[in-house]
């Protein structure tokens, strides 16, 4: 029973991280129709930024979010304006190739800048609580709370603000959005900025639980793709549920199938993904349709 309880807690904690990690990917895909294959690398950039602030400025990793979020927003805005905006109306293969190239560029630039040596952050919040023989790490609990708070903030932005309505309008009907006076280029750049800012924030959470290295981004992109496909594009509550489900599959398979570690958990995740794609191609929860035109 303790083992089950521990696995459940671990799954919830991991699911919270996945949810924040995936939502930027889902938002960009849902609004702009761009599958960002450099997504995992942006998580890693956020993690390195956190490490830098932690190692060289002495900040707690969570405090580094005040730098990571605006810097990553600016980076995302710039990448959209300079690169993505030029290919937005081209066939999907073009954006796949361009973002794949961007992933290689980022990973190798990180290796040049920080070498391949894994880096770790230090935190004063490394303790844990014990509840009925189940260990609850403080850091992962804060991770979960921050992830939920940022998703709630995004949800409010999309449903309550003028900018959020413009983003939703651009996602649902790009031509009609132009007709009502929305500057599509600006909305897309801000959307990309928000998506990358959230992704960078996920990098901060990542840095607290795993070693940071230049080439750890790809598995994160794969998970983001799997969760988004399961959840539906741009669907925040769906992304949260899909993340929890994927984390549960990974953790429970890793816990109860002896001798396989987490790798089989990842394999099991993709088996679930394939089954969902065959039986319900629109995802489990619908969500925004792909961008038109």
């Amino acid at each position: 029973m303790t083992e089950f309880g521990q696995a459940l807690v671990n799954a919830i904690m991991l699911g919270g991280f996945y949810a924040l990690m995936v939502i930027g990917f889902s938002l960009i895909w849902g609004v702009m129709g761009v599958i960002n294959l450099a997504h995992g690398e942006f998580v890693v950039v956020g993690a390195y930024l956190t490490w830098f602030m932690n190692r060289h400025v002495g900040w707690e990793p969570f405090v580094a979010l005040v730098v990571v979020i605006p810097v990553m927003f600016a980076l995302g805005y710039l990448v959209q304006r300079v690169l993505i905006n030029r290919i937005i109306d081209r066939p999907p293969l073009v954006s796949l190739l361009v973002t794949y190239g961007l992933a290689i560029l980022i990973a190798n630039s990180l290796k040049l800048a920080f070498t391949g040596t894994p880096r770790s952050v230090t935190t004063a919040l490394s303790g844990f609580w014990r509840v009925a023989d189940v260990t609850i790490p403080v850091v992962k609990t804060i991770d979960l709370m921050l992830a939920l708070a940022m998703m709630a903030a995004l949800s409010l932005l999309l449903t309550r603000s003028r900018l959020g309505k413009a983003i939703r309008a651009a996602a649902q009907n790009r031509r009609a959005a132009r007709m009502v006076g929305i500057e599509i280029g600006s909305v897309f750049a801000v959307t990309f900025g928000i998506g990358i800012a959230l992704t960078g924030a996920a990098g901060t959470l990542f840095s607290l639980t795993q070693p940071i290295a230049p080439f750890v981004g790809l598995p994160l992109t794969l998970r983001a793709f799997a969760i988004t496909t399961m959840s539906g594009l741009g669907n925040i509550s769906g992304a949260l549920f899909g993340s929890m489900a994927l984390a549960a599959v990974e953790v429970f398979v890793g816990t109860y199938v002896p001798g396989v570690g987490t790798n089989l958990g990842l394999v099991a995740t993709f088996v679930v993904l394939v089954v969902i794609l065959i039986t319900r191609p629109q995802g489990l929860f619908g969500g925004l349709p792909p961008a038109e035109e």
Binding site: R162, K165, A166, R168, A169, Q172, N173, R175, A176, A177, R178, M179, V180, G181, I182, E183, L288
Partner: protein
């Protein structure tokens, strides 16, 4: 039809050329719409009717010629600039945001307006014009019928209190009865509000019936022009576009 139609031009197209890739689709088009009047463009498929709207609204570039709105040169204006001048459009293809509610779609018609009170007043005004929508403001428009969606599109275009409304085949894809209702609504708005309307209509008989002025477009240019009644009575037009049948005026 509005009694005070005619006189001052609200929209003038002069020698307009536009197209796609290497081909000109619109070739030296001249067209004029006066204040408070409904003008209708009819013509066969491929004549370039919809391209004219795409050019006017800045979706595709003008290759040659001029577009004037109330005497001001607006050639190559963006959709946002058109909106700011008081020109709105109801395009042929569905232009709503399907996962937003009726009221959210109407609000989007005044996206550029920051005065929330004015937006609310305009919503009330549009709901008065379309009372059938009033009880369904919270419904997602993607779940509504084609005719209802067309009414919302027209309502959204009216939110901005336009001086000129461009409508590209508003009755396309609708059942005949609904189609007639939509065109009657256009006529009612023209009478009630004095709104100038440039209409493209595949259903030539219905379109000309409600129009002060008509244009027949063939091969990218205007081949015939006259009042709606004159074109309805023209034997050549009747044969080519109205099935050669006896007409009601």
């Amino acid at each position: 039809m509005g009694d005070n139609a005619g006189g001052t031009p609200v929209l003038e197209l002069e020698g307009l050329y536009a197209g796609y890739d290497d081909a000109d689709v619109v070739k030296g088009l001249d067209l004029r719409v006066d204040e408070h009047e409904v003008a209708c463009v009819i013509g066969p498929n491929g004549a370039g009717k919809s391209t004219v709207f795409n050019v006017i609204y800045g979706f595709i570039p003008v290759r040659a010629g001029r577009i004037r709105f109330r005497g001001e040169d607006i050639t190559a204006s963006s959709p946002r600039e058109m909106l700011n001048r008081g020109i709105t459009i109801v395009p042929q293809q569905r232009s709503l945001f399907p996962q937003m509610t009726v009221v959210e779609n109407l609000e989007m018609g005044m996206y550029l307006e920051r005065d929330r009170q004015l937006v609310r007043q305009r919503i009330d005004y549009v709901l008065e014009l379309f009372p059938d929508l009033a009880g369904r403001v919270k419904q997602e428009v993607g779940t509504m019928s084609g005719g209802e969606q067309r009414m919302i599109e027209i309502g959204r275009a009216l939110m901005w209190a336009p001086r000129l409304l461009l409508m590209d085949e508003p009755s396309a894809g609708l059942a005949p009865k609904i189609s007639a209702t939509v065109l009657d609504t256009v006529q009612r708005l023209n009478k009630q509000l004095g709104l100038a309307v440039l209409l493209i209509e595949q259903n030539a008989r219905q379109g000309l019936r409600i129009s002060h002025r008509g244009f027949v477009m063939e091969l990218g240019t205007v081949s015939h022009t006259g009042t709606g009644a004159e074109l309805l009575a023209d034997p050549e037009i009747r044969l080519a576009f109205l099935g050669g049948s006896r007409l009601r005026s």
